[in-house]
Symmetry: C2
Subunit: 190 residues, 2 copies
């Protein structure tokens, strides 16, 4: 496997009951797969939290080169890029892993995951290792269970991106704290 950057992980463990908080805000994600020979990465903006366990859904389909790896190998990493990575994200999203080694092309750093074959993306703010629980083929929904989560505690830029779908993106803005008012609805372990 060509290593474009040394395996130096900036991450510390994020307690698993907090992992859903990475996905719930609806950011652009990078989904990393390994097909038995090569790593690949795709952009997925169609994601959904399904429970706090955590369980996630993503929607994709056979037109994505990563689909076969997801269905066959049954694992992936959901990585969370931040705003300064926007042009890398768009590059990843507009070429195919069928013809391109995206890790080499975009100079992506990777580090070994703890429980799945695909690597963590060291350029990202956070990564969630997932196993595929179920593929609901008629809808293109892949149901994922988070197994481990990692976050870079020292990274300065922490604003994530939200795809609008028309070619524009929204960066995270102000954060508003309503933990007190929300107390009755917050899951345990947060």
């Amino acid at each position: 496997m060509p290593q474009t950057r040394p395996e130096r992980s900036p991450f510390v463990a994020l307690p698993l009951p907090r992992a859903f908080t990475l996905i719930e805000p609806g950011p652009v994600t990078l989904v990393v797969t390994h097909d038995g020979r090569r790593d690949n990465v795709m952009v997925i903006t169609w994601t959904m939290v399904m429970d706090f366990a955590p369980t996630f859904a993503i929607t994709t389909g056979p037109w994505n080169h990563s689909w076969a790896a997801l269905c066959d190998r049954r694992d992936c990493v959901i990585a969370l890029p931040t705003v300064e990575m926007i042009d890398t994200v768009i590059g990843i999203g507009t070429c195919s892993g069928a013809r391109t080694d995206k890790f080499q092309r975009f100079g992506l750093g990777r580090a070994r995951a703890s429980q799945v074959a695909p690597p963590l993306l060291t350029d990202c703010l956070a990564n969630v290792e997932c196993r595929v629980v179920e593929v609901i083929e008629r809808h293109g929904i892949v149901v994922l269970e988070g197994l481990a989560a990692w976050i870079d505690p020292d990274r300065a830029e922490r604003r994530m991106l939200h795809a609008v779908g028309d070619g524009s993106f929204i960066a995270d803005g102000d954060r508003i704290d309503r933990a007190q008012a929300m107390r009755s609805k917050l899951p345990p372990g947060l």
Copy 2:
């Protein structure tokens, strides 16, 4: 039906091929239902675009009072609140329609929808009328088809909210245009 505010709609039609762009960024949504007697509204942050048609998924379950109306009446409105509505959103999300007329309690304005029984929320930036295509009960996933979409063209505050899940919320920040670079991936009709 008690009318807390007069039915004066601020909305113009949003072309249906653009409706998915309201949901793709992952904002907090208000899902409006009608059970045959009363309107109700719940907060749903677990949403996903499934295709450009548009098709959407939301995850919820029988613990929500709106579940029965969704399953039985097979329609709803997805309304998009903006940042200044945060405390109304939290109020709606922390009480139950089983015991509360939320429209009365929170003084919500409503206007008649064009194709579904539940009303549009006139306080929101936009609304999408939806029919329930399928309920995937074992996952709590409700698959929705958008039938019509409405947007307030004159509203000053257009920043939507993103729930983190820990009691904090992120407001929309800067918008970044990458339409040129994304051209090959944009759906027709946008």
